[in-house]
């Protein structure tokens, strides 16, 4: 069955319609205040209704995968920060996980706990930003966005104290983490995590029962569970459509099986569900953080890494649940210090393939909101 047959026939006949009016072609171009990066959408409009949509990206392509073939494994760790530049820690962890599958190395307990703490903080950071930008796309002129960014700044300061940089952290290493938690970091982290639910409550009061948000985003961009699975969607978008698939629960990588947390599932698969799901996931992340910070043991932070990282010829695929979906690294090692093939499976890129399907039949304003709810970052889409 070809792709055209697999997708339901929602496209209109692309010529003059019954009244003889023309179809308007608009390019919401790379320079646009609300396309979340350099991304272009060629829209064909019939009045206000979207008739066809063609996404065009590649404006941020930086040759990441080819570069990695010329530098040793550890040297591409800083480049993975720049993939999904808002979530540096989880990108690092995914790469470290894949590389640790190439050699036999055991990660010590304390390092695993630190990794979980950093990953959940990154989830908070990313969802804060997404929720703020979603409301900004709806037109609220930036007020909720600035509240969310204010909270995010506190967590970024934590990252700066830990690893030296706010976003490009370069913190995980094969077999552990780069350096230990400084004195007082855990107390500061606890303080910030304790006052985070208050911010979430304030945000929900501002927005959840807001009639305008409800009217604008419910039943907009609906994706049924079958369609979502067929498009290979992962992450909060998949769970909003009703499919229970969270890699933290399925693969149980790291030490996630020791924590008690639930996975929120949506029922309708529209933009409102995706937005609300991220708010609920933030609450679950706070729960995980509290448990991890209470249980963290003392000990070494780095396993026994070999002096030169030269794995035997083999291939491996490692994946984690990044805040946007399933982030995977496929590595082929050939016995030298550089990988033979290094491929990234970016969640934003794969989730973006559903954009056309969701937008056809909706209005122009909805196309912008749907794009916002998919949560793309162009660094990941283009690599």
């Amino acid at each position: 069955m070809s792709v055209a047959e697999a997708m339901p026939a929602r496209s209109y006949n692309l010529s003059k319609d019954e009244l003889g009016a023309d179809i308007l072609e608009v390019a919401m171009g790379p320079h646009h205040p609300s396309t979340h990066g350099v991304f272009r959408m060629d829209l064909k409009l019939d009045g206000e209704t979207v008739v066809d949509l063609k996404p065009i990206f590649g404006y941020l392509h930086r040759n990441h995968e080819k570069l990695a073939e010329d530098i040793p494994y550890l040297g591409s760790m800083p480049f993975t920060d720049r993939l999904d530049y808002l979530c540096g820690m989880t990108n690092n962890w995914a790469f470290a996980l894949s590389a640790e599958q190439l050699i036999e190395i055991e990660v010590p307990e304390r390092a695993e706990y630190i990794r979980v703490i950093c990953a959940e903080l990154t989830r908070l950071v990313n969802h804060c930003l997404l929720v703020g930008f979603f409301i900004n796309d709806l037109g609220a002129l930036g007020t909720p966005l600035l509240y969310a960014l204010r909270e995010r700044e506190k967590i970024l300061d934590l990252f700066e104290t830990l690893s030296g940089a706010r976003m490009m952290v370069n913190y995980m290493r094969f077999g552990g983490v780069r350096c230990d938690l400084p004195d007082g970091w855990l107390q500061e982290c606890e303080r910030i995590v304790d006052q985070f639910p208050a911010f979430l409550d304030e945000y929900e009061t501002l927005l959840n029962e807001n009639e305008i948000v409800i009217t604008r985003s419910q039943n907009v961009g609906v994706l049924t569970p079958e369609e979502a699975t067929n498009f290979s969607i992962t992450g909060p978008m998949l769970r909003a459509s009703g499919v229970n698939y969270d890699i933290r629960k399925v693969d149980k990588y790291g030490i996630y099986d020791r924590f008690d947390f639930k996975v929120p599932i949506g029922a309708h698969g529209d933009c409102y569900d995706r937005f609300m799901l991220r708010m609920l996931e933030m609450r679950e992340s706070v729960k995980i953080l509290k448990q991890a910070m209470a249980d963290i043991p003392e000990g070494p932070i780095m396993g026994n890494e070999p002096r030169v990282f030269k794995p035997d010829p083999q291939e491996t695929y490692g994946r984690i649940e990044s805040p946007k979906g399933e982030l995977g690294f496929y590595l082929i090692a050939d016995g030298t210090t550089n990988p033979y093939r290094y491929k990234v499976r970016p969640p934003s890129f794969v989730n973006l393939t559903a954009l056309r399907h969701m937008c056809i039949g909706q209005k122009v304003a909805d196309a912008v909101i749907i794009l916002g709810s998919i949560d793309i970052v162009l660094g990941e889409v283009d690599r």
Binding site: N170, E202, N210, E211
Partner: protein, 278 residues
């Protein structure tokens, strides 16, 4: 919606709360007016690298030995090093040229991790803007060299750790040196004692041989021919030797010499005594 939209009014209440609280709560107005006030730079921040030197003079005190490990480790390849040579052309352990292109550097800190001499570290200076894109942003060795006191100012904990590590390394090197010296001294003493013992032994043997002239002459002849001490002479030697009380290592070495006569000359005196120092 009803006549009074409840959700909208709730939202407006939150905004009003933020408006009023921004006047007296610091948390609700986190802006820092930049050129006049600067927010304190974290002591763990990293921006571009710099080279550390100890003491007063930058060129003499610099820790870098131009081993080029950081150049190899740098992912975007922004470091360029040329080793220094003295007047005769012999290479010395110092870089003559150490250029970092700060427009390429991505602050990843891998150069710091691989440096074995604790000499390259990350600076937190971020006000680096320049009007010249290529020459202005290429930083050369003399601009990169900054003192250890500066390092302590910007990164106190890290600098302290580095100093501790360096001190530990120096202490270890000193300990090894002392151990070697101690070993050499004991070896020299052992050698001296051996020499004394040897003389005494030769004297005793000649006496014994004088008493038992023909046997001793035979043995001496055979000794002179083959250099092998026969067991009787050795037994004679030991009884004589035990009479002359020697310090503790020597009876051991004597026994050693008695039990393994062939290897007496082959063993160096120091090695003999070494495994047996208590």
């Amino acid at each position: 919606m009803s006549l009074i939209a409840k959700g909208i009014l709730q939202g407006m209440a939150i905004t009003a709360k933020n408006f009023i609280q921004s006047y007296y709560k610091k948390e609700r107005l986190p802006t820092v007016q930049y050129p006049e006030e600067k927010s304190t730079v974290n002591q763990f921040t990293r921006n571009i690298p710099f080279l550390v030197y100890d003491g007063e003079d930058a060129i003499d005190g610099m820790r870098c030995t131009a081993c080029k490990l950081c150049e190899k480790a740098c992912p975007p390849q922004c470091i360029y090093i040329i080793k220094d040579t003295d007047e005769n052309g012999k290479p010395i352990k110092r870089p003559e040229v150490f250029d970092i292109d700060s427009s390429v550097c991505m602050s990843c800190q891998l150069c710091v991790e691989v440096c074995p001499f604790e000499s390259i570290r990350m600076d937190s200076e971020f006000e680096l803007s320049n009007e010249n894109r290529f020459e202005g942003l290429l930083i050369n060795r003399d601009e990169l060299l900054k003192s250890n006191e500066y390092y302590h100012e910007i990164h106190p904990i890290e600098a302290q750790d580095t100093d501790d590590r360096i001190a530990a390394k120096i202490a270890e090197a000193e300990a090894k040196k002392k151990a070697r010296e101690e070993k050499a001294r004991l070896a020299a003493e052992a050698k001296k004692a051996d020499a004394v013992m040897k003389n005494a032994k030769v004297a005793a043997v000649t006496e014994a041989l004088a008493a038992k002239a023909p046997a001793a002459e035979q043995i001496q002849e055979s000794e002179a021919k083959t250099g092998v001490i026969k067991p009787e002479a050795a037994a004679l030697g030991t009884t004589e030797k035990s009479a002359t009380k020697a310090p503790p290592p020597e009876p051991v070495s004597k026994d050693d010499q008695a039990s393994t006569p062939q290897t007496k000359e082959s063993k160096a005196p120091g090695e003999d005594s070494e495994p047996k120092i208590f």
